[in-house]
């Protein structure tokens, strides 16, 4: 009986041996792995993974941590603030607070805005630039080709770093699409001319100029630049929402502009209201 079985399986013996050997190796390894898993186990708060699931997963770094996982760890282990995730916004803060049984005040939703309107038609160039198409590099060559030493160079360094493609180059000037902006602030650091600011989303009136030059100089280089006429400051005297910083009018973003007539009255038309203009 055994002999017959042996004769039948004889030709298959090499296969059987191989299968047996592989199976043994497989079991051996899994056993070793099981032991290793037991011995080297790291106790991890399961909530970290779950908080990480709640986060948007953009890994944008706006919270100041290396990524979503890092922030999740900080939230659970180190009691980090719950409102630091800009892409998640107020909703996420509420969700996190509920999940962790804490209370947290939602941070104000902010969006990036480019404080320049110096499009190709409006702003003059001083020279023909030939080199790397990158703002940081262009800024170092002769101070940039825009005649205005404050204005947007238009080589889209901000658009390149934007993780959500919220920045578009329109007529040589960067423009942020607020609905796409997750206020991570990467563009703010990318701009060599510091033209991009994070502002509260609720503010809709902006002065899109950063030139601190005197009016005549501004007028020489750009038709859309703030000439420092102070008209907007005077028109908003009571509410004090606009102030002069040198020769440049600026919005006080802690307040909201009530007298929106300044948008119409501004001589170079460098004040916009996003509820109308967009």
């Amino acid at each position: 009986m055994i002999e017959t079985v042996l004769t039948i399986i004889e030709p298959y013996l090499p296969i059987i041996k191989t299968v047996f050997a592989i199976t043994c190796i497989g079991f051996g390894c899994s056993f070793a792995l099981a032991i290793a898993a037991k011995f080297f186990e790291v106790k991890d708060d399961p909530r970290i993974g779950e908080v990480n699931e709640l986060l948007p997963g953009a890994n944008c770094g706006a919270c100041g941590y290396a990524g979503c996982m890092d922030y999740a760890k900080a939230v659970v282990m180190d009691d980090a603030e719950l409102n630091r995730c800009a892409p998640g916004g107020a909703d996420l803060t509420a969700t996190l607070a509920e999940y962790l049984g804490k209370t947290a005040e939602a941070a104000e939703k902010q969006v990036a805005i480019v404080l320049c309107m110096g499009t190709n038609d409006a702003a003059k160039c001083r020279f023909e630039y030939n080199g790397i198409a990158d703002c940081r590099a262009a800024h170092l060559v002769g101070g940039g080709d825009k005649a205005c030493t404050y204005g947007c160079l238009g080589y889209s360094s901000c658009a390149t770093v934007c993780p959500t493609q919220a920045i578009e180059m329109v007529d040589g000037v960067a423009k942020v699409h607020p609905e796409l902006c997750i206020s991570c602030g990467k563009c703010v650091t990318a701009c060599p001319r510091n033209l991009i600011k994070l502002v509260p989303e609720k503010n809709t009136v902006h002065i899109l100029c950063s030139s601190n030059d005197k009016g005549p100089i501004v007028r020489k280089v750009c038709t859309k630049g703030c000439i420092g006429c102070t008209m907007c400051v005077k028109l908003t005297k009571e509410e004090e929402s606009v102030f002069m910083d040198g020769f440049l009018a600026k919005i006080d973003y802690s307040k909201e502009v009530q007298n929106k007539v300044i948008v119409e009255k501004c001589p170079p038309k460098c004040i916009i209201d996003t509820t109308i203009n967009n």
């Binding site: 020279f127 790397i132 940081r136 590099a137 002769g142 101070g143």
Partner: protein, 446 residues
């Protein structure tokens, strides 16, 4: 014979079209005093000087306009008598904003000098007195960087200078200002060298000249022979760019390698530019502050290429007009040489103590950069005198991976331009490295 051939061969280097014939035989002329001078307070490396005059002040020629602001800084003196019209913010040759003192000149000669020493009496002065005079005269490196000379001449006490090299290589194409200086004023140059030797207590000095200037080599060697000066020798260098780069020149002549990030003093050498040496001579012997310099105005875009002595603060347009005006097809105005100089947006920029050349180049002389991919031909590596790998570095820079660029020693790049000069893909290599270096410098030190 007092002519020595440089013994050591540096790696890399390129052979640009020198085009020195445009201005090399033009005798140096003096520019008539312009009506308006705009004197920048950033004439040198280091902190900009602090103006000591104000709007409306009347100043005499040689009077102090701005004082040194810190250790690495230098005073600026008035190149002419006149009235200060204003002090404004202008644009320097590199494109960075600078403070400019606008001077309306009146062409009177009410200049006052504190005292003039007879030529042979300077020997009696102490090194400290000499150094002080150099500092007060605002002498800075005239070659291009503008490092304050008295700082250079006061090396730390633990670094003994054994060899002095006077850089007369003038390896940048077009430029002939130093060449003319050597031909026309050998006595000032030699006396200047002797002054530096005395300050540093150095016995051995070389005047480094590229072998494409045989007249200068012969003239200086003959002068030294006639005057029986034995401690100064003429060292001839094979002609190629960048033979005038400090570290490369030291290696060519002495075979010593200045360590990365170090100074020539680390290998006991000091390199001084010919123009600076003459300025030292003027400062010590004639008590003249550094208020004017020879500038080569050249290029195919200028009517009569010339070597011009112009006061600091002269608008480029004045120099261009003096040299017959610009031709119609000028495409680029360059302050300095074509390999390392700065392109200008306008001819309104003014000369400084470091303006060695003003070039008006036409479209056929200049290059256009393209953002084409690297084809790994390795020509930049073969050309790099610092033995870097520009091809690889530029790819790091393009990816904004500045840390890797730093690890591959982008900071050792001296921006000589050999890589971009030889790149068949016309990649803007030097601009990449400049951007990376600026980024890395702005980073806090770890």
């Amino acid at each position: 014979m007092n002519i020595l051939k440089a013994k050591f061969k540096i790696h890399g280097g390129v052979h640009p079209k020198y085009r020195k014939e445009l201005a090399r035989d033009e005798e140096t002329k003096r520019l008539p005093l312009p009506d308006i001078l705009r004197i920048s307070t950033t004439q040198h490396l280091g902190a900009p000087s602090k103006p000591v005059v104000k709007k409306g002040d009347y100043v005499k020629k040689y009077q102090l306009l701005a004082e040194a602001a810190g250790f690495i800084s230098a005073p600026v003196h008035s190149p002419a008598s006149g009235t200060i019209k204003d002090i404004v913010t202008g644009t320097g040759a590199s494109g960075a904003p600078v403070t400019e003192i606008i001077l309306e000149t009146n062409n009177t000669s009410d200049a006052e000098l504190t005292g003039v020493y007879p030529t042979d009496e300077w020997q009696k002065l102490s090194p400290e007195t000499i150094l002080n005079r150099i500092r007060e005269a605002g002498v800075v490196g005239a070659g291009g960087a503008g490092f304050p000379t008295y700082v250079k001449l006061s090396p730390p006490p633990d670094k003994k200078i054994e060899t002095l090299i006077i850089n007369g290589a003038e390896c940048e194409p077009y430029l002939t200002a130093d060449y003319r200086l050597m031909l026309e004023h050998p006595e000032c140059l030699i006396a200047g060298i002797q002054i530096i030797c005395k300050v540093l207590n150095v016995t051995e000095a070389y005047i480094a000249i590229e072998d494409n200037k045989p007249e200068a080599i012969e003239l200086l060697s003959k002068y030294l022979e006639d005057k029986k000066i034995e401690n100064i020798k003429v060292s001839t260098l094979p002609t190629y760019y960048p033979q005038g780069a400090e570290k490369q020149q030291i290696y060519s002549i002495t075979g010593r390698e200045v360590p990365s990030g170090g100074l020539p003093a680390d290998v006991g050498v000091l390199v001084e530019n010919t123009g600076t040496t003459v300025a030292i001579y003027n400062a010590v012997i004639k008590d003249l502050p550094f208020i004017e310099r020879t500038t080569t105005v050249s290029g195919y875009g200028i009517e009569t290429p010339s070597n011009v002595i112009a006061p600091i603060g002269t608008p480029y347009q004045e120099l261009i007009d003096f040299c017959g005006g610009a031709k119609d097809d000028v495409k680029k105005i360059i302050s300095g040489g074509p390999m390392m100089g700065f392109a200008q947006a306008t001819a309104e920029t003014t000369t400084t103590k470091t303006t060695s050349g003003l070039l008006l180049l036409t479209a056929k002389e200049i290059s256009q950069f393209e953002s084409s991919p690297c084809i790994s031909c390795g020509r930049c590596i073969a050309a790099c005198p610092m033995n870097l790998m520009p091809a690889e570095l530029s790819q790091f820079c393009e990816a904004e991976d500045f840390e890797s660029a730093a690890a591959n020693r982008v900071m050792d790049c001296m921006e000589c331009g050999c890589c971009a000069f030889s790149c068949p893909a016309h990649r803007p290599l030097v601009q990449h490295f400049r951007t990376a270096k600026a980024f890395l410098r702005a980073q806090p030190k770890k």
